[in-house]
C-alpha cells in the first residue's frame, strides 16, 4: 500500500479498506455528508445500525492514570470519548486531556505513512521498504555487536506492552527500554516508596478533616487527577464536615485556589515547616524561613495536632529537596496515625510503576553524546522537547547511528529520526493497562487506522519474524494474537474481557530490569533563602501537561483554569512586584536563569509570591504539528540539568533575574473582570450558616437586588412564564402552551443545577462541550482576521484576544478579597469558579428581540437556537445578561475558508447529530438537545416514558466533580428536581426576572484552618 505524501486517506478508500477487512468496526454511508451519495456497507457488521452510536470500552492512554473510557462510535468513527461508569478509577468521569485524545487521533499533522530519511529530508516509503530497512539496520547493529548499547525510549505506559518490548529487546540482545513520563511526580513517587512502600497509595479525602498540600496539585496535574477530583468533590460535598485544605507553596495552583487557606511559603522552605509541625524545629524558625507570619505556623501546628489521624498531608513538590521533604510529609501522616485512614498504601495505584528516572535518561543522553549508541528507538516520547535544553538531548541524539521512531506525531524528536514507523493511535490499537494493582483494563481499537500506520507491536513482531535467529520467539502473527496467547483463558475470555471495564489479573510479561545508573554529575543544589534574583517556579500545565497536549486545539483553546490564558506562554508575577518593576500586564519579561532564558508576556497574579515568578510548561514547540508549532515558549529552556536525590528533574530549582522589555503583547485571555462587582454571580456561604435559620443571609450584598423569595420552581412572579406553574396541578396557570397537545412536551422542564461547593474549576466540562457540540476552536494562528487587505493577524489566539472564543460553557473565576494587591501582598483571597452557560431562561431576554424567531422558548423549557433560521443580527447576544451566546465570525465550518476549524481528517470527530454552524450564525448551549431527542426517541422506540436520570448533558457526563446535574425539573423523580430546592440554591441575576433553568448551589466556605490568632 502506498499513499502519496501529504494526501489524506480518502473517504472512499477508507470505506473500501473497512469493507474488505471485515473488521469489527466498519463504516456506512455518508448519512451526514453533503455529498449526494448513499454508500451502503459491502457486508454489514453485526449489531451495527447506521446512524446509531455504539460504545467501545477502552482505556485512556493520555496519562498514567489509566481511566476507563467509552468511545462513542458512529458509522465506524469515534466521535466522542466519555468516562466509563463501570471503571473503578474514574467512575464515568473524564478530563479534558482524555477527551482531547480524539484530536490526537484525527490530527491532520500525524504521520500518514512510514518515512525514511534521504539526506536531510524524510521521504514517504512503503511499509515493505520501511521494514526492510529496519531489518537491515538491526542486522548491521547486531552484527557489529552494538546491540547492547541500543536505547529504546517509550512514552510511559502500563500493561503488557512494556514487557513485550523488553522481550523483543532482549531477543535482540538489547537492554530494557526506558519508560519516559515527564509528567510523573517522580519525587513524590520516590518519597512514597520510601515511606509507604508503594509508588502511589490511595488518598481518602473523605476520611480526612485537614489536608495539608505541599504543592501537591491533586486537581491540576499531580497524580490521577480524575479519581482525585471525584474523591475531593465528594469529600467537600459533605459541606459542614468537609475536610479543610491548607495549601503550602509559592504559587497558588488550581488546587491552591480550591484551598481554604494558602500559606505562601518560600520555595525551599517547606522542610522548615515540616520540621516545625513534627516538633523538630520551632514555629519561629519555620516562619522566618518561609517568610510567613509566625502565628500562621503556630496555628497550623495546632490544627495538625487537633486533627489527629484525620490529617492528610501530601507533598507534590519538585524542588531539589523534594524527596526529603516528601519523606517528612509522610512522617506527619505517620506521626498523626493517618496512614491507613487517609493514606491507604494497601490500595495502591499502579500507574507510575516502571517509570524511568530522569537520571537514566540523562545517562542515555550522555552515552549518545559520546557516540556509543548505534541505534535508538523512540515511541511517543519527546525528550528533544521535554528535557532541559541544557542537557543537550537533540545534539546527543544526532550522534546516534540509526534512529527509529514509532511516534504518531512529527514531534521534535521524531523529526530527528532516520526511519519513521508510525504507530497506531491508542484508539486504533490493541493493548491493556494496569491502573489499580491487580486490575487490568483493555485498550481496543475503536476504528480502523485513519492513516497508513501500523501498531508498533505488530511492527516489532514482523521485524523479529523476519530475523531467522529470533523468529521462533515470536510465534504469533501480530500483537493482538500475542496478547491473546498471553491471556489467561485465551481468545474467548479475551473477547469477554473487552466488554468489561476491568478484569483482575496482571500482564504476563513483566518489564525487563534496567541497570542502575550511577550519578556522574552532582545533583542540583538546594534553593537557598539568601540567593539573588527571583524564584523561578516551573510547573506542568493543567491543560497541556508537559507539552504533549499542545497539538490538540481543544486543549490549546481551553483556558488555563487559573490564569484563563490560552494559546500562549505567560510569566506569572505578583502585582506588587510588577508595580515595583513598572510592569503592566502583557509587558514582555525576560526570565534568565543560569541555564537559559525565555521571554514571555507578564500576567499579574496575586496567587504567586512577590519574590517568585511562575511559568507553565507545555508550549514553545518548534515542531509537533500546526497547532503546537511556534506557540509560546518552552520553559524547559530555563531549567538547570540538575536533579533531586531520587534522580529526577527538579522543576523548582533555580533563581533568575527578571527584566522588563519594551515589547508588549496582549494576553490571550478569556477573562474580563476578575471581580464580581457585587453582582452575585458566584455566591457563597459559610459552612456554619447552612444549618442557621434562612433569614440571616439573604442577598444583602447585591445592591439593587429585588427582595423576593427564591422560587426554585422556575416560575416567574412578574411576567407570564411560558410554562406556567407546571409543578402545581392545582394551579390555573398552565402557561402559554397548549396542554392538550398530544405530545405532552410542555409537561417537561429541562433544568440544571450546578453545585459550586463541588466545582473545582477544572474545565473538563468545557472540552466535553466542544466535543459534543461541534464547537469550533478559533485560536490557531491561521484563523485570525485580516489586519489590512494584505496582512493577516497570525498571532496564536488572535481571535480569542478579540473575545471571539466559542466555549458554550465557560469557567468564570472570580476573586473575593485582596483589593489592594499592587501595594500589598496578602495570601488571603478567595476564588469562586462558576461554570456559565445558557441559562435557558423562562423569560429569556434574547428571545423577543430576534426578528426571525431564530430563538424562542420551547414547550419543554429549552431556550432554542435555530441555526438555520438565524440571520445573524446578534441582537440576542446584546440582550443576554449572561453573555453566553457565541457568534460565528468566520466560516469555521467551511472547509474552503482559511479559518476552517477541522482540517481533514479532524472533521471526522464531528458529531453527526449536531449541525455544524455556518458563518454569520449565533450559537449557544442547547442543553444538549440532541441527547434529549435521542433519549426521547429511544424511549419512544421502546414504548416507554423517559426514566429519571436516563441521560445527561455532555458537561455533566464528563464533570469529575459531579457538580453538574441535568434533568427534568418538573418530574420529581429526576435528581435535579430535588437539587433545585436545595437550601443553597440561587439564580444568577435573579433581579432581572429571567427565571433561569440553571440553578446554582452556593459555594461553601470554611474558615481558614490555620488562621493566625494575631492576623
Amino acid at each position: 500500500m502506498s499513499t502519496k505524501a501529504g494526501s489524506g486517506v480518502k473517504r472512499r478508500d477508507f470505506l473500501k479498506i473497512l469493507g474488505a477487512t471485515g473488521a469489527t468496526t466498519a463504516v456506512v454511508g455518508c448519512t451526514s455528508e453533503k455529498v449526494g451519495k448513499l454508500i451502503p456497507y459491502v457486508s454489514s457488521p453485526d449489531n451495527t445500525v447506521a446512524g446509531v452510536s455504539q460504545f467501545y470500552a477502552t482505556t485512556c492512554r493520555e496519562c498514567a492514570t489509566g481511566c476507563g473510557v467509552l468511545a462513542e462510535v458512529r458509522d465506524g468513527r469515534p466521535i466522542k470519548l466519555e468516562g466509563n461508569p463501570d471503571h473503578p478509577v474514574n467512575r464515568g468521569a473524564i478530563c479534558a486531556t482524555g477527551m482531547s485524545a480524539l484530536q490526537g487521533l484525527y490530527n491532520p499533522d500525524r504521520f500518514r505513512q512510514p518515512m525514511l530519511r534521504e539526506g536531510s529530508e524524510l521521504k514517504p516509503v512503503t511499509w515493505d521498504r520501511a521494514l526492510e530497512v529496519l531489518g537491515q539496520k538491526l542486522g548491521e547493529v547486531k552484527s557489529r555487536g552494538g546491540a547492547a548499547n541500543a536505547v529504546f525510549l517509550n512514552a510511559h505506559e502500563t500493561g503488557s506492552f512494556p514487557g513485550f518490548v523488553d522481550q523483543w529487546l532482549s531477543a535482540n540482545d538489547m537492554p530494557a527500554h526506558l519508560s519516559i513520563d515527564t509528567m510523573a511526580p517522580a519525587a513524590t513517587v520516590a518519597a512514597n516508596r520510601a515511606a509507604y512502600g508503594v509508588a502511589w497509595p490511595a488518598i481518602d479525602f473523605k476520611a480526612s478533616s485537614l489536608i495539608l498540600s505541599f504543592s501537591a496539585d491533586f486537581l491540576d496535574a499531580w497524580g490521577g487527577r480524575v479519581p482525585q477530583q471525584l474523591d475531593w468533590a465528594d469529600a467537600r460535598a459533605q459541606l459542614e464536615s468537609a475536610p479543610k485544605l491548607v495549601y503550602i507553596g509559592a504559587r497558588r495552583s488550581l488546587t491552591g485556589l480550591n484551598a481554604d487557606q494558602w500559606i505562601p511559603a518560600k520555595p525551599g522552605s517547606e522542610m522548615a515547616i515540616c520540621r516545625a509541625i513534627l516538633g523538630q524545629g520551632t514555629a519561629a524558625e519555620a516562619a522566618q524561613a518561609a517568610d510567613v507570619a509566625e502565628g500562621t505556623i503556630t496555628a497550623l501546628i495546632a490544627a495538625v495536632r487537633g486533627a489527629g489521624s484525620k490529617v492528610l498531608a501530601l507533598c507534590g513538590m519538585s524542588t531539589p529537596d523534594a524527596v526529603e521533604c516528601g519523606s517528612m510529609v509522610a512522617e506527619i501522616n505517620k506521626v498523626n496515625g493517618s496512614v491507613g485512614t487517609t493514606i491507604k498504601p494497601a490500595q495502591a495505584h499502579a500507574g507510575y510503576e516502571g517509570v524511568a528516572s530522569y537520571l537514566e535518561l540523562v545517562d542515555a543522553t550522555e552515552r549518545m553524546a559520546a557516540g556509543n549508541v548505534p541505534v535508538a528507538f523512540i515511541r511517543n516520547a519527546n525528550p528533544a522537547y521535554s528535557m532541559p535544553t541544557s542537557v543537550g538531548f537533540a545534539a546527543a541524539f544526532a550522534k546516534v547511528g540509526f534512529k527509529v521512531s514509532f511516534s504518531i506525531m512529527p514531534d521534535e524528536t521524531s523529526l530527528l529520526c532516520d526511519l519513521i514507523l508510525p504507530d497506531n493511535h491508542w484508539l486504533e490499537s490493541w493493548g491493556d493497562a494496569v491502573a489499580l494493582a491487580g486490575e487490568r483494563s483493555f485498550v481496543q481499537p475503536a476504528l480502523e487506522p485513519v492513516f497508513d500506520t501500523r501498531n508498533a507491536g505488530d511492527v516489532l513482531i514482523s521485524a523479529a519474524r523476519a530475523d531467522g535467529t529470533i523468529a521462533s520467539r515470536f510465534p504469533q502473527a501480530d500483537y493482538r494474537s500475542w496478547m491473546i496467547a498471553n491471556f489467561e483463558g485465551g481468545a474467548t475470555a479475551f473477547a469477554t474481557a473487552l466488554t468489561k471495564a476491568t478484569v483482575s489479573g496482571s500482564p504476563v510479561a513483566s518489564r525487563g530490569t534496567r541497570t542502575a545508573v550511577a550519578s556522574r554529575v552532582s545533583p542540583a543544589p538546594a534553593l537557598s533563602a539568601a540567593g539573588e534574583g527571583m524564584f523561578v517556579v516551573v510547573y506542568p500545565s493543567a491543560t497541556l501537561g508537559d507539552g504533549a497536549g499542545a497539538n490538540k486545539p481543544w486543549l490549546q483553546e481551553l483556558p488555563d483554569p487559573v490564569t484563563k490564558i490560552a494559546w500562549q506562554t505567560w510569566v506569572e508575577i505578583h502585582p506588587k512586584a510588577a508595580k515595583e518593576m513598572g510592569v503592566r500586564e502583557g509587558d514582555h519579561l525576560t526570565v534568565k536563569t543560569a541555564a537559559g532564558e525565555i521571554t514571555a508576556p507578564a500576567y499579574l497574579y496575586m496567587g504567586v509570591r512577590p519574590d517568585t515568578v511562575a511559568i507553565a510548561l507545555g508550549q514553545g514547540h518548534t515542531e509537533y504539528g500546526r497547532f503546537a508549532k511556534n506557540v509560546g515558549v518552552n520553559a524547559y529552556q530555563l531549567l538547570p540539568s540538575g536533579w533531586d536525590t531520587s534522580g529526577n528533574l527538579a522543576l523548582v530549582a533555580s533563581r533568575g533575574t527578571v527584566t522588563r522589555l519594551e515589547e508588549h503583547s496582549q494576553l490571550v485571555t478569556t477573562e474580563g473582570s476578575a471581580r464580581q462587582h457585587g453582582r452575585g454571580i458566584a455566591q457563597a456561604m459559610m459552612a456554619a450558616a447552612i444549618s442557621a435559620p434562612e433569614e440571616e443571609e439573604h442577598h444583602h450584598d447585591i445592591p439593587g437586588h429585588v427582595s423576593q423569595e427564591f422560587l426554585p420552581g422556575l416560575k416567574s412572579p412578574v411576567a407570564a412564564d411560558a410554562q406556567g406553574e407546571f409543578a402545581n396541578p392545582q394551579s390555573k396557570d398552565k402557561g402559554m402552551y397548549n396542554p392538550e397537545h398530544p405530545t405532552k412536551a410542555e409537561a417537561r422542564r429541562w433544568a440544571m443545577t450546578i453545585d459550586l461547593a463541588r466545582c473545582t474549576g477544572c474545565s473538563a466540562c468545557v472540552t466535553a462541550c466542544y466535543s459534543e457540540n461541534n464547537i469550533p476552536t478559533v485560536g490557531a494562528a491561521y484563523q485570525g482576521r485580516a489586519l489590512s487587505p494584505t496582512t493577516w493577524d497570525e498571532r496564536p489566539g488572535a481571535n480569542i484576544i478579540k473575545g471571539r472564543e466559542m466555549a458554550w460553557i465557560r469557567l468564570e473565576r472570580y476573586y473575593e478579597g485582596n483589593t489592594n494587591t499592587e501595594n500589598e501582598f496578602s495570601p488571603d483571597f478567595e476564588t469562586r469558579f462558576v461554570p456559565m452557560m445558557c441559562q435557558h431562561c423562562g423569560n429569556a431576554p434574547c428571545e423577543p428581540v430576534c426578528p426571525v424567531y431564530a430563538t424562542y422558548h420551547s414547550p419543554d423549557g429549552l431556550n432554542v437556537q435555530v441555526y438555520n433560521r438565524c440571520v445573524g443580527t446578534r441582537y440576542c447576544s446584546n440582550n443576554c445578561p449572561y453573555k453566553v451566546r457565541y457568534y460565528n465570525w468566520f466560516g469555521y465550518g467551511e472547509p474552503e475558508r482559511k479559518q476552517y476549524a477541522w482540517p481533514e481528517p479532524m472533521h471526522w470527530l464531528l458529531n453527526p447529530d449536531v449541525t455544524v454552524r455556518g458563518k454569520g450564525v449565533m450559537e449557544k448551549c442547547t442543553f444538549c438537545v440532541e441527547r434529549i431527542r435521542e433519549g426521547e426517541n429511544r424511549a419512544r422506540s421502546e414504548e416507554r416514558e423517559l426514566n429519571a436520570d436516563e441521560f445527561t448533558t455532555a458537561c455533566a457526563q464528563a464533570c469529575p466533580s459531579r457538580a453538574i446535574v441535568f434533568g427534568d425539573a418538573a418530574d420529581e423523580n429526576w435528581s435535579v428536581a430535588k437539587l433545585a430546592y436545595d437550601r443553597r440554591a440561587y439564580h444568577v441575576f435573579e433581579e432581572l426576572n429571567t427565571y433561569t433553568a440553571v440553578v446554582y448551589l452556593k459555594k461553601v466556605n470554611h474558615p481558614a484552618p490555620a488562621a493566625s490568632a494575631t492576623a
Binding site: 451519495k37 448513499l38 447506521a50 446512524g51 429549552l862 435555530v866 449536531v914 449541525t915
Partner: protein, 208 residues
C-alpha cells in the same frame, strides 16, 4: 383630454409580477420535487416488493430503529442474487462486479433533507406512517422493467419545511397513507375512522 388610459397597464404588470413571485415562493419553487436521478444499477423496487412481497425493512433495516433507514449491504443483495440471476440481467451482472471487487454500490441520493434537519425515520415508521406517504408509491417503481420506459426512483414529495409542518400540525391521515401503500380497502376504511395523528411542531424537534 386624455385619449387612452394606457397607464393602467403598468400597475397591472406590477401586480402580475408580484403575484408570480409570491406564488412561486409559496409553492416551493426551490424544491427538487420530481427529481429523477440515474443510478449506478437500474434497481427496480416493483418485483422485490410486489412480486416477492419483501418488506421494506429487509433492505432499509434501520428505518424502524434509527434516524437513518440505511440501505442493503452488497452482501445482503448477494444473499439472493448469487442464485437469482434473472436470465443474465445486465444489472445483476453489475451487482456481481461490485461484490467481486468488494466495493459498495455508490447509490445516488434521491431524498435528502438539508444537514440542519434531523429526521428520525424510526419515529415516523413506528408511528405508523407508511413509507409511501413520503416516498410515493415506491412499490410500483420499476414496474416497466429496466429497458425502455425505465424510471428510477423519483423524489416524491417536495421535502419543504411547509410540507413537513403541514403533517405535524394538521395530523397524519393514516387512511391516505395506507391507500398509497396499497393496503387492502378494509384496512383503509378502518383507519379512516381513527383520529389523525399530530406531532410537535416545535423548531427544536428537527433543528438542532
Amino acid at each position: 383630454m386624455t385619449t387612452k388610459k394606457k397607464w393602467t397597464v403598468i400597475p397591472g404588470f406590477l401586480a402580475l409580477a408580484a403575484a408570480a413571485t409570491l406564488l412561486s415562493a409559496y409553492s416551493g419553487a426551490s424544491s427538487s420535487q420530481g427529481k429523477l436521478v440515474e443510478q449506478p444499477i437500474k434497481f427496480i423496487h416493483n418485483p422485490h416488493v410486489e412480486k416477492l412481497g419483501m418488506n421494506c425493512l429487509y433492505c432499509h433495516s434501520g428505518a424502524n430503529k434509527a434516524m437513518d433507514p440505511g440501505n442493503a449491504s452488497v452482501a445482503s443483495c448477494m444473499g439472493c442474487h448469487t442464485v437469482v440471476k434473472a436470465n443474465g440481467s445486465e444489472e445483476i451482472k453489475k451487482l456481481d462486479e461490485y461484490w467481486n471487487k468488494k466495493e459498495p454500490i455508490p447509490w445516488n441520493r434521491v431524498h435528502k433533507v438539508p444537514d440542519y434537519v434531523q429526521f428520525p425515520h424510526m419515529r415516523h415508521v413506528n408511528a405508523g406512517v407508511t413509507c409511501q406517504s413520503c416516498h410515493g408509491e415506491i412499490q410500483k417503481q420499476g414496474a416497466a422493467g429496466v429497458g425502455e420506459g425505465y424510471k428510477p426512483v423519483e423524489q416524491f414529495a417536495s421535502l419543504n419545511m411547509g410540507w413537513c409542518i403541514n403533517c405535524h400540525v394538521q395530523g397524519y391521515n393514516a387512511a391516505e397513507g395506507a391507500k398509497l401503500a396499497g393496503l387492502p380497502d378494509s384496512v383503509v376504511t378502518a383507519l379512516a375512522k381513527e383520529p389523525v395523528k399530530k406531532a410537535r411542531y416545535d423548531c427544536a424537534v428537527c433543528h438542532y
